[in-house]
Subunit: 230 residues, 2 copies
DNA sequence: AAGTGTGAATTGATTCACAGCC
DNA sequence: GGCTGTGAATCAATTCACACTT
């Protein structure tokens, strides 16, 4: 994973720290909102506040893309939106297949942020024959048996897994075999994938458990005597 | 944020790094699965594989909880499940209110991992009067106007926000005013909260954009000549 | 005067490698 | 002999503070 040889030509984009990449989408969205309210220029302080980070971090992050600000003035909103979008690959069109048309799959299909931000849902897939033919957010549901054909004919490279845990690895394997190279996984199992395939796990249960940990610490702090006694 | 005075009695739990806390739920789930398949003892190597991490990291993580393994043998599955659950606060019962009963809210309400893992959904809230009275996963939908009363009467401390972006901050403020101290936010806006309140943002759009970034890098690597020319 | 861009310092996380125990 | 637990070393991310530009 870390032994990938670094192509010197790609040095700039290669050099963007992962933590920065994860924040660029947040900056992008904050800038879009600012732009819509008519703001033409922002300081790092203002943008940082809108994005929920501190300003040195924001400046350091943006410095990895290049020098797109003006000293004494700030950043041109539209120009920065474009530069971030280009860096993230949002200026091109990504074909996305969603597997699993339960409540979560429907929520994803209807999520406003996808269409119009470079992501096009080209297929919905479900194992239940009763759902096949149905349309969700204007996209017809295809049967799981036709998964490979759908991925290949649409040239989809991003797959979203919203199926029950036990089915997830198998769906993952089939998506990859058909040509998908990036996967967003909502099933509560860690997927095993070959090198070169990226996976991001989004796990609702994990998030709640992290909150519970902090919640417990607050409770302990509030009643130290009781906590010590337990 | 870092100037919180450290209570020496709480030193052990205080000392658990945030990155470790975020992985404990994953270990917990992997252990539950192993236990269900009849495994009584695991080595750090086996558990690490099941959880999708490497074994030194797993051992370091577990070492923050205490010495719960046996050298030369491994970890007792049931014992470790209990210790992690206790550390995460899963041995007690957390009352959760979900605000927003769209597809995402329904998906969350039906998510199997909540009930039976220490989380109890005590209320569903929606702004649409047509949804009020309806039951989702056995829980009745309450009108947004009764949010405060619901939180107070159920003593809920965890709130899940699954409403459209523009409504999120207001819902957040009301949850906190009513007594919620931990928030899981699915709306695509960074929430502003007072000190002492924990927020975790889960952002579907952000996750896809991170994948797009890596996808673009792969595409660049595959056709270096073209990429250089663009 | 205002505000970016960035080396240097710091803090945090991961990996290494091996001492210690069963 | 096998495997945990952990200091030491490495690597990554964050914060600081200020030189530099408009």
């Amino acid at each position: 994973m870390s032994r990938r040889p670094v192509d010197p030509r790609a040095a700039r984009s290669r050099g963007i720290p992962e933590a920065t990449v994860a924040r660029l989408p947040v900056y992008h969205r904050a800038l879009l909102a600012l732009g819509e309210s008519g703001v033409r220029t922002v300081s790092s302080e203002e943008l940082a506040t809108a994005a929920g980070v501190n300003s040195p971090k924001l400046r350091k992050d943006l410095s990895h893309l290049g020098s797109y600000g003006t000293r004494g003035v700030g950043y041109d909103v539209d120009y920065l939106i474009y530069q971030i979008a280009r860096e993230l690959g949002l200026t091109q069109d990504w074909a996305v297949v969603i597997v699993g048309v339960g409540n979560l799959g429907r929520a994803l299909a209807n999520y406003g942020g996808f269409a119009g931000r470079g992501f096009r849902i080209v297929g919905l897939v479900d194992a239940d024959p009763a759902r096949v033919g149905e349309q969700v957010a204007g996209v017809p549901v295809t049967h799981l048996g036709r998964l490979e054909g759908l991925v290949q004919s649409t040239r989809a490279t991003i797959g979203v897994i919203a199926v029950p845990g036990p089915a997830a690895q198998q769906v993952c394997d089939r998506l990859i075999a058909a040509g998908v190279t990036s996967i967003l996984n909502f099933a509560p199992v860690p997927l095993v994938v070959p090198a070169g395939v990226d996976v991001r796990e989004v796990d609702l249960g994990v998030e709640l458990q992290i909150l519970a940990f902090h919640e417990q610490r607050k409770a302990d702090a509030a009643v130290p005597a009781l906590a010590a006694g337990r």
